[in-house]
Symmetry: D3
Subunit: 295 residues, 6 copies
């Protein structure tokens, strides 16, 4: 059998075996095909596979960083099996999975799936990095205490996170009166609301100041302008641009250590080729920024 005859496997980027080898990879990609509590458009369970498929078309050479980021090695795990008894049970399973991966000291990149899953990922990272803080890209506050009968709803994930560690939010442009009232109680939350112009340098500095040395990024793709990624469960007009998102992440990555991150809520049905590709490239760009400070 000649290698040239076949395309590489459909792992993240479609990497050859030597670059996706579990033994040497510094990065681990974890697909979590689960959405059960979403209130509007479902389908983010199909997000991880769509992002992986699209990633095989992402150029591995990064023009900005002028290198092949993938040389660090990127392993792609199989999909986490959904647990359908309820979101609490699924969050518990994902916590166990993430904890197991983190015990190897690798950079864990999770692809969702609904946003409620991120509370499990934050919990596992905080266990390993006790001074963790979280940077949340999102259109919605997600600060409700309970929603549709469960505290594990996607609409509550930031509230669960803030019970664990400090939280910085960016891109927010939708919030209930209850969430607004909660913010007035001075919880450890710093919120940058979406604004017509990109964040100023002063705002970026304030963002960094609010973050601890070790940062977990949870990125609900609806933080971006729906013109860029229409395929999300609850699109909101306005939102971050492509270069603006990269600028924020790189600014943070150069001043704090990104110890893990997730991209959530991609719904392929309306995202199209462009949406899936954009999500895949965004994951690769953040990997590159994070790895700059990894050693």
């Amino acid at each position: 059998m000649t290698n040239d005859w076949y395309l590489p496997a459909r792992n993240f980027l479609g990497l050859e075996p030597e670059l996706s080898d579990p033994a040497t990879a510094q990065v681990v990609v974890l697909p979590v095909p689960y959405d059960s509590t979403v209130s509007y458009k479902s389908g983010s369970r199909e997000g991880p596979q769509a992002i992986l498929d699209a990633s095989t078309q992402v150029e591995t050479f990064d023009i900005e960083l002028r290198k092949e980021i993938c040389l660090a090695g990127i392993q792609t795990l199989p999909e986490v099996a959904p647990m359908m008894a309820g979101p609490q049970q699924m969050v518990e399973r994902l916590y166990q999975v993430a904890r197991s991966v983190l015990s190897d000291g690798k950079l864990l990149v999770s692809l969702g799936g609904e946003h409620s899953l991120s509370s499990a990922l934050v919990r596992a990272h905080q266990e390993r990095y006790p001074n963790l803080s979280v940077l949340q890209f999102d259109a919605h506050g997600d600060l409700r205490d309970e929603y549709e009968g469960t505290p594990y709803s996607h609409a509550c994930v930031a509230r669960r996170i803030v019970e664990m560690c400090p939280l910085v939010q960016v891109g927010i442009r939708s919030m209930s009166a209850e969430e607004w009232a909660f913010l007035q109680t001075k919880p450890p939350v710093t919120t940058f609301f979406d604004q017509p112009q990109p964040l100023s340098d002063a705002q970026l500095d304030a963002m960094v100041a609010a973050l601890s040395p070790e940062v977990y990024i949870t990125l609900d793709l609806d933080a971006l302008d729906p013109a860029i990624i229409a395929g999300v469960g609850t699109p909101e007009p306005g939102g971050l641009g492509w270069y603006e998102t990269l600028r924020i992440v790189r600014h943070v990555a150069q001043r704090r250590r990104i110890v893990g991150f997730d991209l959530m809520e991609y719904c392929p049905a309306e995202g199209g080729t462009a949406g899936a590709f954009t999500a895949a490239k965004l994951a690769y760009k953040i990997m590159g920024y994070a790895l700059e400070a990894w050693e």
Copy 2:
């Protein structure tokens, strides 16, 4: 304000107030926009609204029965609010809702939503009609004891039903080895597997013989050929034709009393105008057959 200026409300069939009046309606339509345990294609939570929207285009005069079935009065309830803690909690809520509706002695027509919900509906009907048996139209056995961590999965609904009352299945063309083994244990289940030709008269008689005098019909729309309704969560080639489905229901309705029924698993994303309309007309046809024996 002149009535002619406005279209009627978007209730089932778009009926004028006098024909959809709760005080006099013999039929109650209950939309249940919930899908959380489905394993393949999600989206049946949007099924009820799509069927209601399409129903406004269904001709109210029935050529076969030569009458306006809607003269019996058809009330459309608001949508049942989803309960996202898990399927067990949602099934419990729906049971409470259905029980409340049935206490008025009306014909309850439920529109799903995922098939797991039907166990709540059967439970409520059986409470009111103790000699109930169930006729299940389905491509899949749904006889697993547990699936993806819960006994309330869509893949287990027939198993939950058979724990309550006798069950007749028709259209079945997919079953796991576990389900096949279960059938060999002689549970109170009669299964008509899908076959190239329509059911013979003898088979129809055998079907009726296996049913008790009061019958609840649970119809997973994937029982029909996907050529007719592509918009289901788990389409299977083969399946019942349009006239064949009507023939089976009418045959039963003329020999047993249909005390309630549901249409489940309609996923609008791939169903198109034709699929939603077909589901709506099917609901109306079954209403007509059931009401023939209602008084």
Copy 3:
């Protein structure tokens, strides 16, 4: 310029100039991109172009008739310009257009567009063929006297036709109480309701008997099973199969002279490649049947 360098024009079948020459063509295809009175799904204004585009992929050799039907010459006219003041004005314009074409003694094949347009086509044909009768393929009776404020609605086209000449309907499976009542008044209408089995030979003979020597066929594509052509404005489950439709047309064509026909209500948005191709091939098959008796 070498001819081989270019594909033929996007006329019906993509015919070379010599086969689509207005001077010699026996058949004239007239696209009418108009839909303004439809009540449910709009978009049939885009039907004619979609059918023409698809027709370039139809094989010109007919296996059944064992010949190249297109050797008779098929001219494709430009699209009729829509007249938006109201359906009455548009019907008047189309009548003028059709009359002009018919004055050359050609076989006129019209592609719609909404069904209300057919009353103009029948009027023009009847003027030329005074003993005309009409064979209507349709899911709906279209026998209302007025609908949504106009007698020129798509829902009234058969009523307008029956005011002009005898009418035979086939495939009907939806009718209002008003239409049913109208049929009881013994108008010159023969209706074959859609049935689970194909029409019997006796029924076909009765159909022919009800038709005069010169027949115009108006074919609302929703007469066919939506499994075959989903892209229609008002799909109805059940309906004619592909071979069944061909059998009916050929049976009539061998016993009566088809002097013109139309295919109406194709809506590309949900019809897909298969729907457009099927409509185009159906137009070509009917041409072939009609031309067998043309000389």
Copy 4:
């Protein structure tokens, strides 16, 4: 029956009965599902329902205004019944409907439907507010005197409006030579053509200066960049951004009284979840701005 069991009705925002009560609501939402004269992509007749459905996901708390706008009460009327004899007849009907609503002194918010309908709305508003001027958001001038055989075409609506009162246009980036010539005749029209940068403060002031104290806003959604709302009948590249649109409306609302407004031409087929949601949120934002000056 427990209220918690059910979701609220599918009115604008999915409001509970007390907030959508006709007796107390200050705002009335009127859906007008009509499109008959459009020349390119049809389907805006399905726009109102899509916007209403999406509105149930709009957060009722407004971060910018820091209040629940809906506390003013928002009634949703049933859909206006289409009148298919022609656009003139439909415009007449809508005028009667709007006049009846306005007699109660409420803020009327109309959801289209094709843009030609707005001439009826302007006429009804002008009758009640004689010093009315109109602010038109649009990609197209819509200043033709007649189009496709009727002066009631969507392409003529601004010409009809300017026959009634002063007109200010913004977002314009498409105009025929005839319209350009008409503008040279110095009609009471002020046109701000779409430009690469947002309107300057000076331009905004000039806009306000050209408006009378009482302003009706007619907003063809194609005024916005199609990247934001692709689902319009005639998309044009360029166009207003989300925050730019809000800025213009708020600037005007703080200096003039907005006495009514409409959102027209939303075509769900290509708009997706994001487009419908954006239209719904835009309607709610404009309500908020308008109500600030309402008492």
Copy 5:
């Protein structure tokens, strides 16, 4: 790491490692994502992955055969890398790949991709099984000698095959005059044209008689009715039904040895969930029939 945490890999059926082990598998699935010569709708290059994805939802237990067919072991190879210099070069590469696989004596199941690829597969099989004959399911004759400048076009694949071995065609309903004329020259081709009724027993016997003891099946999915699988490059109305297709294959499999087969031309863009699932299930059914005679 607990196995229960993860779903199996996205191989054919989503089989666990022990059932997809190259060392023991009797069946090898080969995905070939290539379409370059198609004339109408492209996209079959995405067919293999869509079929593999859908196959993970196919029930592994076969009700008809009453066993788990997959116990024979089914290895899924990586995708063959496309060779874009031209179809001749790609056919040559695929021949090399197939030859290599066949040297292990396994049942090779290829998933396309455009139909022209099948000539490579037939060549490789004939080399190993010199008395090979081919059974072609197809809507089109594919018997042109050259098309659009190449003898390796999808429209020529049957002509290439008949140059190698005897050929039986079924489902044919489109053919050019050139192909018809070729058939009159008495080549070793037996053609069963598509007909309104399923093939009779006599026809099935004639089909078997025309086949040699070792049969390769090449199945262009457009052989089936487009109502069943709309997602093909060149859909043709009419065509084989689901049970009819199974009946033909099983009839042959019980009388001849099926030594390999392919499923070609699946285009996901219009196939939907139902189309991909149907293709996957069909592949599994044919495997089951073939394996009955494999030992």
Copy 6:
């Protein structure tokens, strides 16, 4: 026959015969429906027809230039017939076609189709304009020497061009390590990478300085932000805006002579109405800019 009865032909803009007359037209539009070497999403073969169809809705009056550009006369050629033996053969054919058109001294505007075709167009233009340079709008470098077995791949087109004449690239945001290394060898290529802000005046001047007096523009539509045109084979986040693209072209057109141009890689499947219209309007805008300097 009255001209008013019919719409004009579906040529570019839907121009009347006198404005599209080959004898007098200064501009020639050439549709090339071919895509065979694309690696990701296919379908650009359907691009030319989609752009032509959409162009009939483009307003012929240009607000910016204040004139009817089409008065120069715009002939639309039939589609170039695809040559399926391989991309080399197709490129050769297109070269012959283009050469033939250019011999008349007209402005040739080609609509693709895949980008590899542009090497044929550049070759034909360079033959006529020996001092030609090329301005490439693109997201990708396209500077590979060979890709997937052929030097005629879409991924190699810029490398083929730079073998013929100087090249300026703009919008680039994806490049392989091989391409990056090639650029370090100082080939006659000037690359402007995509950047968060529009090009500065200094950058525009540098661009002009790098171009010779006669310029051919090859525009891969993926150069634009996918928010504007999602329907391209390989979308990349970031990219040029609408007004930014126009500004660059006009800046060049006022300082260099644009002797021909192409728009490539439009894939209708995901482009929607907005994408096709935007491509058509862009073609018309560039025509206008080019013609300003044509005489």
